[in-house]
């Protein structure tokens, strides 16, 4: 095993997650279409969830499930990855879904009212 290669891989996993988040932030600030802004919000969420799950990972760890196979062959709880971030991400995903649904409903209403999705044409969306 080449340890330096793995070291770079570590940076890659966190780096990707943070990059996804930053792309989402960029989208929310720069994009003009309401729909793209909502998509960017959920891109931020995806990056964040990836980041959180990554924190719980241990090298060579197994899924935190005490299946019959695990109980027979391993028995070592310390081989399991951390289940808490996974549980937290489950919550975060559901909440992210709720917020996205609300945002989309608002976009639909804005479109109904103004007939456009461009934020430059909707006067009151500036601040």
């Amino acid at each position: 095993m080449d340890s330096t290669l793995f070291h770079y891989l570590d940076y890659a996993v966190y780096g990707t997650a943070i990059l996804v988040m930053l792309i989402g932030f960029y989208g929310t600030m720069v994009k003009k279409s309401l729909l793209k802004i909502v998509i960017s919000l959920s891109v931020i969420d995806s990056g964040l969830n990836l980041l959180i799950v990554t924190i719980g990972y241990y090298k060579g760890g197994t899924a935190p499930i005490f299946s019959p196979g695990f109980l027979k062959n391993f028995k070592d709880v310390s081989k399991m990855v951390d289940p808490i971030p996974q549980a937290l991400v489950l919550t975060a995903i559901v909440i992210g879904f709720g917020v996205t649904a609300v945002a989309l409903a608002l976009v639909i209403r804005l479109y109904r009212h103004h007939g456009t999705l461009n934020i430059d044409e909707i006067k009151n969306l500036k601040w």
Partner: protein
Amino acid sequence: MKKVLVILLLAVLGYYTAATFFDIGFGQPHFIKGLEPVKDIYLAQTVKTLKVSNAVTSIVVNFRGFDTLGEVTVLFLAVTVLGSVLYKKRHEVGERSVLFSASSIVTSGSKLLFPAIILLGAYVFIHGHLSPGGGFQGGVIIATGFLLMLLSYENYSVSHTALSVVESLAGITFAGVGLLGFLHGGTFLQNFLPTGVLNNLFSGGIIPIIYIAVGFKVGAELTGVIYTVLHEKGQSNG
């Protein structure tokens, strides 16, 4: 100009976030030495006390079950808010705009797949305490079944009343099971049923009951969201 500023701002944010997380380290234990992280207790108690195989399920439904109650409420609220934001008077509700109807291959294929999808969803949430998956995942799978039907049949309709009854009953089950914990001299959401044998379907006390309720609730709620949004008129009227 604005883009440059935004990129600079994000570069600063990204640099500090990345530096923080590189500091934490990847793939190796990162907790400060000498502390007893809660996850060890969770993993030990999952098998010993709760007799649940899936540690994530035991955390989501029991150790941190209060979070999940809140989470279910968030979904319930999202449906409520969606209904309120998109509310129209009865006679203004639009027909779904369909560009072209689906071919018979799609419609009969969906009909064939629909029961299988529902069955898979039910399987996933019933076995939430034994295998990967659970109420949320199963509920989402059930909602995709309804999404498929709604997409392939232009006048497929789901009863709003039925959805809201399922949603309410499932929610009441969750909160009610939680309150029943008090009756047995315990605390809110405490397990009061026999836990059974590890890796059996009937094990884990109240955990499968709650997860089945969550499955129904999530399925009904996501279907409700899809249904509400689909019945929007395609073109603007303002």
